[in-house]
Symmetry: C2
Subunit: 484 residues, 2 copies
């Protein structure tokens, strides 16, 4: 048997993996050195990116392989060289976290053993460790760990669609048998909610326009008065509100909606409250920031992405519900997976916890990380990134060519470059692309009322204040060049 | 900085990862030795499983961590010891593949770099390598690689819901403006189609009962005559068929629906054809079995799971569409991800290819595997498992206490134990649980018309004919004990 077909599991697993992982890590190291910065220069047209990929993968699937060692060596290096590295301090565009080495190492075991969580007999320890992770996070956000439950997801988008599907099902069940109104189901969220809320409404067959945008207060948080107004308008139109989605950490500004007030309104109206804490949920690890999440325990369901403030490799989404019975609409009986007599004999599965069937044991890397760092260790990383955002905001305020959008809430800083001449939107968009093209920096962009803004998303705890200063100088220099 | 907070990426990445991965692999090795079989004995009530998990994770999230090395060592060993190892020849229950070491090694790089495929500036090489993998598989199944497209998914369930959502959107668009019928949308699939088809209909808001089961021929394949009849009945009821789902490899029997005939009917009726080849799609690697998939190129969309016949760690689903324009309903413009001017400048994203937002570069491990083994290498693994199924079926036929359900098509073998006394359903269910409880074997179970059957799903190319013989002897012995 050649090394190409050796298996990762079984008695020989570690011996098969070790030399191949060495080769992969060597490629990772060489690619990082060759890249020599946050991203490859040259943009999407870069020859190494366009042709390098097929050069190393072969055109399509080759008939005969080149063997594991050569394929790994070449492709690991190419992939790394033409990647964007979130561990580089000049990579600060997205909620795209540099993962902890301990989490990546733990994930190797999940991959080698290849458990799947849709039935007990594909992963007893996977099922157990996911339950532990769910319980730990449920406890941290203030749910009762005995009644709450949940599952790992691929991320906030899957968590949001799962929460809204449960809301839809519960609303349908509540309406059944009643002479209730037959209007269209509606979901309320703020203007700054993630686009996946509307997309979820579309997936779920409610239509994307079922997601009604509620107005913002002066800090771009969902305005409770506007929520009242929106509910009244839905009522006037004869439509049926089924859920409110509050956001704890908007993608751009990190804004956290006033959860206690929104929870009160949802409770009064008997509406499902889903909190999209994909970004902000990780603030629970920080004693300083956790109070921002007060009221989260009143939500029916919550989305938290530990591949954001949690420093996990993707995927590490969590979907939590306040009470296990809320999952009832997802329960399924499948002869080949969870027959009744097997479940009575104790062979339980988590099939009813997820819209997926096969599910990797993503919980292992999270559990190892929680145990390795503890809440204190993770909280220190959150606080460090929060401090960096504060520093960046202050530096933006000091720089006459930059203007700050608003004080940072979590770890993002939104600002604009002020051009001496030219259309500010175009200059800001172009300066960002210039930084990408030149391979110098990866910063974010977004828009408010059509005005292009720049954004730093600070998730690298190793970034220094000096790195931030240098990054902002690079931004100003690129803007100056665009105006020259 | 302690090792607990070291990052996997950047210049120090490989140096941080190497000792931690060594620790993880040591735990993997020790756990495998301690388990000493396909699964831990004792079933779900096993003390080591129930209390071991919290013993190693701590009850909930600890305040202070124990450090990366200790957490990794303890939890990797515990996780492996209480896992079910698909690399053990006596683990043969599910489409739960023992992954190739080369794929697991490549996945380390994807984890360390942590690319996400929802925007160019979170993963240029990830975007490129996914396009390569999609092109390679599209070519293999007979799609035109220039017009076809697709994306990696978490598995068949996500692929199926994506295909059916596109079908729903295209039907809605086709009906718009026409004085068309307003009946309920319907999806046709065979009685043996995967449960995720009906579940997808539920998710999509069509109701699970929108999935209409079409009758089977004598080989449990979708019967084209019954499909005609079902379409006529839908028409009579005033409802609207929107898609036909053919299955290429049913979960239990590996049956492949007659794709050419079904494609002809779908084309005549203008219906979307989705082929769920989650299991059978990997047969394209085998020159012997590929002809079973003839007609796949006529499907509008196809699901293939390379974490089944492809020997990848989960997740390695692929969703392919015949023509890129079929993805139009999923296109999204999001200011922070894919602004128009950025895309015009060449910074394209794959946001419109997936229902997810953040997406790990799962394509890297697949690309490395394709290049390492080639079609020939993967085809040999497929053929080997097919041969093993043939051997197992013949051995079942030779054994008076066992009866074969039907000749294997792919790599599953369905059979029953014939008890001397007692209810056969109960005896078969109990003998399987006995094997699990005793930690001796993990075999599958399913039902046909309520009759409990046993199943071997043979996905381990290292399994020998002798292993199969021993496994079937173990099954018979367990059955005899249940009857004693």
């Amino acid at each position: 048997m050649t090394s190409s077909t050796q298996l990762a599991g079984g008695n020989g697993g570690p011996e098969h993996l070790l030399p191949l992982i060495d080769t992969a890590l060597e490629g990772l190291g060489k690619g990082t050195v060759e890249r020599n910065g946050p991203l490859p220069a040259g943009g999407p047209g870069s020859n190494g990116l366009r042709t390098g990929s097929t050069a190393v993968t072969g055109e399509g699937c080759p008939n005969t392989g080149v063997g594991a060692t050569r394929a790994l060596a070449e492709m690991s290096q190419w992939f790394t060289q033409y990647a964007i590295d979130p561990a580089d301090p000049a990579c600060a565009a997205h909620l795209h976290t540099p993962p902890l080495a301990v989490a990546v190492a733990a994930d190797v075991v999940a991959g080698a053993v290849n458990s799947s969580l849709d039935s007990w007999d594909q992963g007893p320890s996977g099922v157990a460790v996911e339950a532990d992770v769910v319980r730990a996070l449920a406890h941290l956000i203030g749910y009762c760990p005995e009644t709450a439950t949940g599952a790992m997801t691929s991320g906030g988008t899957e968590s949001n669609v799962t929460g809204l599907m449960l809301a839809r099902e519960h609303a349908t069940r509540a309406a059944a048998g009643k002479a209730s109104r037959r209007g269209r189901p509606r979901i309320l969220c703020s203007t700054d909610a993630h686009f996946s809320v509307a997309r979820s409404a579309g997936v779920l067959g409610l239509g994307e326009d079922a997601a009604i945008e509620v107005g913002l207060d002066s800090r771009r948080r969902m305005d409770p008065e506007s929520l009242h107004t929106a509910l009244a308008a839905i009522d006037d139109a004869g439509d049926v509100p089924i859920a409110v989605v509050a956001t704890a950490g908007t993608t751009d500004l990190g804004t956290i909606d006033p959860i206690p007030e929104i929870a009160g309104i949802a409770e009064t109206h008997g509406l499902w409250l889903h909190v999209d804490a994909a970004y902000g949920g990780g603030a629970v690890f920080s004693h300083r920031l956790a109070p921002l999440l007060d009221g989260l325990e009143r939500a029916d369901s919550v989305a938290i992405d530990l591949h954001k403030l949690g420093w996990q490799p993707v995927a590490a989404g969590l979907f939590l519900v306040r009470d296990a019975t809320l999952f009832d609409p997802l329960q399924r009986r499948v002869a080949y997976l969870n027959s009744e007599d097997d479940e009575q004999a104790g062979y339980r599965s988590l099939l009813g916890r997820s819209l997926r069937t096969t599910r990797r044991a993503d919980a292992l890397k999270v559990a190892v990380t929680l145990r390795a760092l503890g809440r204190t260790g993770l909280g220190a990383l959150v606080d460090r990134c929060h401090d960096l955002a504060g520093h960046a905001a202050s530096r933006v305020n000091d720089e006459p060519r930059l203007t700050l959008h608003s004080d940072p809430v979590l770890t993002t800083v939104v600002f604009r470059y002020l051009p001496r001449a030219g259309d500010p939107d175009s200059v800001n968009a172009r300066l960002r692309r210039r930084l990408l093209d030149e391979g110098r920096a990866v910063i974010g962009r977004t828009e408010f009322d059509g005005a292009v803004h720049l954004k730093l998303t600070l998730l690298n705890p190793n970034t220094t204040e000096g790195d931030i200063d240098a990054l902002l100088e690079t931004v100003v220099a690129a803007g100056d060049k665009e105006c020259a």
